[in-house]
Symmetry: C2
Subunit: 192 residues, 2 copies
DNA sequence: ACTTTTTTGTGATGTAAATCACAGGTAAGC
DNA sequence: GCTTACCTGTGATTTACATCACAAAAAAGT
């Protein structure tokens, strides 16, 4: 199972067996059931989560109780409330499971320890962060530049499997569209 | 002038004099006039720019010729087309000067060299990237969760000086609102 | 198998904000 | 100082999308 992590890291930087063992020792595995919270608003955020299997979502709940999806987290993805995690503050986001999920938890302390001790790992995390930054820029541009239907279509193209795996309400919430409007897009597309 | 860079780095990690001199040697200073491009859509992105003085903007121009602001870059900020820079691709964004601007240019090659040679610098860039990621997440949440007026008001609160320094059209374009709608918000606020 | 809950589609209506249009104001160029 | 270009405010109209309301379909729980 942890070979997923090793492959993931080695896409950026190769590790010796003993290096990887050392790295892995800084993670702790956990399992969560569907619906269970990984992080709940208000609590101190201890961990970043590397998803081994399953599917989770991070989202913000506003004053009116409306949810806005920040991120999905599936196999091979990292997820947490990064603002709270990096600054060791209380969570503004919730993260819970759409499916039963297995993760590897990495505390901020262990992350910083690994980065300090192994230059390779600092390199790895810098590269991941850079890639994440670019991905968020793309999402912002898409929010600024594309209308709801265009955003729907690019997401459908990029992650078609997501549309099978999660209720449309969540996809709507990720795209910043109402459930009903999203539904009308998919009916329209069916005509083709 | 380069003390701005030193202070900027040392907010994250201290450097000896000789370390800083070594780092600085990997940057090259350049000056740009108002209106001048730092990066133009389509060209290969060679550099990340650290702004010493002045003000620039990065933006996407869509098929209809409409501009959407990705970022402002003022003193002490980094700016480039990161997608293109990190992957050594052609720019999708334009970057040009709102005011006469002085920058320090860092090529990807020199950035990676510094990161490989000086663990401290890899640490610095990781931290910067993390902070940038969190900032973009906040912007996405604001786009998903807040209406145009709320976005206007939080930006005004966060960067009041920006409203003196740049035309409202640009602020509208950053917020994803039309110039006219933004103008109506500011008239309303005057009544108080 | 039956009940309950969740998910989805679709019509009717309302609204925030875009777009169009024009005028006064301010700054820049010569 | 005059001219040209850019910037801002404000009304009238349009539009994309939200919200409300309901029903059918699918999934989950017992």
């Amino acid at each position: 199972m942890s070979t997923i992590l090793r492959k993931h890291i080695e896409r950026i930087t190769p590790l010796t067996d003993s290096e990887f063992d050392y790295v892995l020792a800084h993670f702790s595995p956990r399992s969560f059931k569907k619906q269970q919270y990984l992080i709940q608003e208000g609590e101190l955020v201890q961990n970043d989560f590397f998803v081994l299997s399953g599917l989770v979502k991070s989202y913000y709940t506003n004053a009116d109780g409306k949810e806005h999806l920040m991120q999905f987290g599936m196999e091979d993805w990292w997820i947490t409330d990064y603002q709270a995690y990096f600054n060791q503050q209380h969570a503004q986001l919730n993260i819970d499971c759409i499916e039963n999920t297995q993760v590897l938890c990495l505390s901020l302390h262990n992350r910083e320890k690994l980065c300090a001790e192994l230059h390779k790992m600092e390199h790895f995390f810098r590269k991941k962060s850079n890639a994440g930054y670019v991905a968020l820029q793309r999402r912002i541009l898409s929010l600024l530049n594309n209308n709801a239907q265009e955003r729907y279509e690019s997401l459908l193209k990029l992650y078609p499997e997501l549309f099978q795996r999660v209720p449309k309400t969540l996809i709507a919430s990720y795209l910043g569209v109402s459930r009903e409007t999203l539904s009308r897009f998919s009916s329209k597309a069916d005509l083709k």
